[in-house]
Amino acid sequence: MSRYLLRRLLIVVPSLLGISVVLFTVLALAPGDPFGELATNPNVPPEVGAALRAKFGLDDPVWLRYLHWLIAMLHGDWGFSFVSRMDVDRLILQRLPATLLVIGSSQVLALLVALPVGVLAATRPYSLFDQVANTFAFIGFSLPTFFTGILFILVFSIYLDWLPFVFRADLAATGWRWYWEMFRQSIMPVAVLGLFQGASWTRYVRSAVLDVIRLDYVTTARAKGIAERAVITKHVVRNALIPVVTLVALQMPAVFGGAIITEQIFRVPGIGSLLISSILANDTPVIMAVTFVFACLVILFNLIADILYGWLDPRISYR
């Protein structure tokens, strides 16, 4: 097991290097200039843009800039944002709480919906419940979040006037009021994201459970006289969960990455909106840092998923 872990961790190093090279090259080749807006302003002489480019080393060749970035990164320096003139790690940390709160709770909501509904639908295939659940699941993942988001705003904020649609990270309230306000403003973004995710997971859980429920060992368990409930929870779900765990684990990096469109609609100051505004402003150090964190998380959660398999299914061994 530890040898397996070591080997996996060793593979991580070259893959991260490879990822960073690709990211950096793509960003360097992409069109745009962080100080482009200055060029269109008649009151800013062109020398300012040139001086800024020189100051931030944008005129160096790509490989040199990459080396600078890599060395700084190895020292734990994430870079300096061209646009905000502050350290990138602070910028990301500022965005983390809102991201974790909104995206995290939407994933929890998705799981809370998908697991019971999926399992229940699979144990009674083609029943009325299954049909209804299926229909809703289809609707759920067919509707894109930018559509449901705006629909929710129109219904709950504008027509009914119940919920605010501008998300604020620092609420002016304290104590219980703060929790209440936070809850109110989180409902819509969390529901939009959670139900979308939940819908596709429901379908996934259902088919995974259906695959297992027909196997002989389940029939055997039932024949032994084990209660149906125990058969489902102990024998079926545990085995059916293996593919679901992969799916969920691979989804986890997305929690940190945020949900770009939903964040934009509800003005949630998450990492997704940081990424998109940095891309629009050509703020390379921020884009680089966010995408790199993202890459690290994907690799990490892949590893975690692999390890979880072993726990769920002891037959899997690591060599």
Partner: protein, 598 residues
Amino acid sequence: MTERELRDLIAAVKVGEVSRRTLLRGMAAVGLSAPFANLLLLQAGVAQAADKFDYKPTKAGGGGPLKTLYWQAPTLLNPHFAIGTKDQEGSRIFYEPLAGWDNDGNLVPILAAEIPETENGGISQDSTVVTWKLKKDVQWHDGKPFTADDVVFNWEYAADPATAATTIGSYKDIKVEKVDTHTVRIRFPKPTPFWADAFVGQRGMIVPKHLFENYKGGASRDAPANLKPVGTGPYKFVDFKPGDLVTGERNPNYHLPNRPYFDTIEMKGGGDAVSAARAVIQTGEYDYAWNMQVEDEILVRLEDNGKARGRAEIFSSGNIEHIEINNTDPWTEVDGERASAKTKHPLFSDPAVRQALALLVDRDSIEKHIYGRTGIATGNFVNNPPKFVSKNTRWEFNIEKANQLLEQAGWKRGSDGIRAKDGKQLKLVYQTSINAPRQKTQAIVKQACQKAGIDVELKSVTSSVYFSSDVANPDTYSKFYTDIQMFTTTMGEPDPTQFMRQFLSSEIASKENKWQGRNITRWRNEEYDKAYTAAEGELDPVKRAALFIKMNDLVVGEPNVIPVMYRPRVSAISQKLKTHLSGWDNDLWDVRNWYRET
């Protein structure tokens, strides 16, 4: 009105026979804009009566929160580093300039005790020295006094190329000296009729010397105060999350009595303009939303509702949506450069083609169906302040006339309906940025051109690429590798000196200057260059305005550019909020006077 009459009138105002207001109205009638007329009076030594804003609250504070929405959020809070308006707006909550511009183009003293005038000795006879008297008893938020040293420091700071301040243009050519603790003197290298640039308005915000002293030049990016502003403004800094939120609280020691009214201020960023308009006009979640780049149709629909909690406020500015004509050949490469100034455009070298094109822009339909209240059809490139607006130009939409013109010039229709002459077909590529109103305008122009036998190919480029200065990208607006292109250009201050640079031969964009020259149409006109040089040194405001009007007429007469829409600025405001907006300054330039009616 002749020059002579004007002079008599100014003299009458001086001795009090005629009120300022009457004069302004009279000038507007003859096409002189208010800001111009005001500057004219200033130079003639007539005291400036800034328009009085009716401020009702009788004590400071107690107004609760002021919530503003900026769909582009500020990303930094040092006014000298501001990249776009959004950053200036964020800084303006905390920092103040010596004076700001109101919507009539009047200078309003903020940190200055009074506006320099010839009469009070503020402006020297030859307009090379301007003396500012500063307001006394002004404190920075940390309690330190605001003095002339701070003003002088701001000049040193911004003028140092190593600081890489975006405001350098306003400071690099002047000399600033301290006269006493509350007086500074600005020396200009040559007579400067438009002197109100440094320390004024958007680029004039003043940062404290004691916090930035050690961070001048190369170390500028390390100043902790870059992210934690300490200013003199009506609100003190509380928190800043770049790209998301700026918050401030009432400054109890503000230098104006009974101000500010609100206890806290919040500037929330992100999202899009339409939903920002909703949050102000429909749900009333926010009090103010900046820069409503929303089609008027949508704004009207939001407002047109018995329950509407806000409205759109439209105020004049100097923005002009225009079509530029390429004077060079974008399709031939000369010395490794397309659209090189050494070439001539194969079609536009015939003036008839240019004139026909100008006749084919249906401004009426564009105004009515696309821009609504947010655009005014115009035939002028300079549309504000009124004193600089030409009365000599007209525009019309006339397909028949365009056909005639082209026919007479020898452009004959071919079998495919496209006109041609000497084997050259009238085929144009028309580029602009991706933006719904622009694509609709393109379609309207294309349709009219078709009827006149001109084939137009439409091209649209993502804004982030189109407006970038990326030297490697062929699709930027400054490279102008198409026949015609359309975008909005902004006149930032109530004087066209900077604005009109963009047609000087010396400013032609080329490979050599990395396409950073402002003359994108690559137009060469000696008469224009001469008029510009004359205007730069002309101290007589009336003659000076006449020179700018002449420049405008030259540019649109040929035409070198076809003005389409003069675009006022639009904000969304809650019904009860009383604001004081100006098209010549930041939206928040007078936030100290904002209040809510109860």
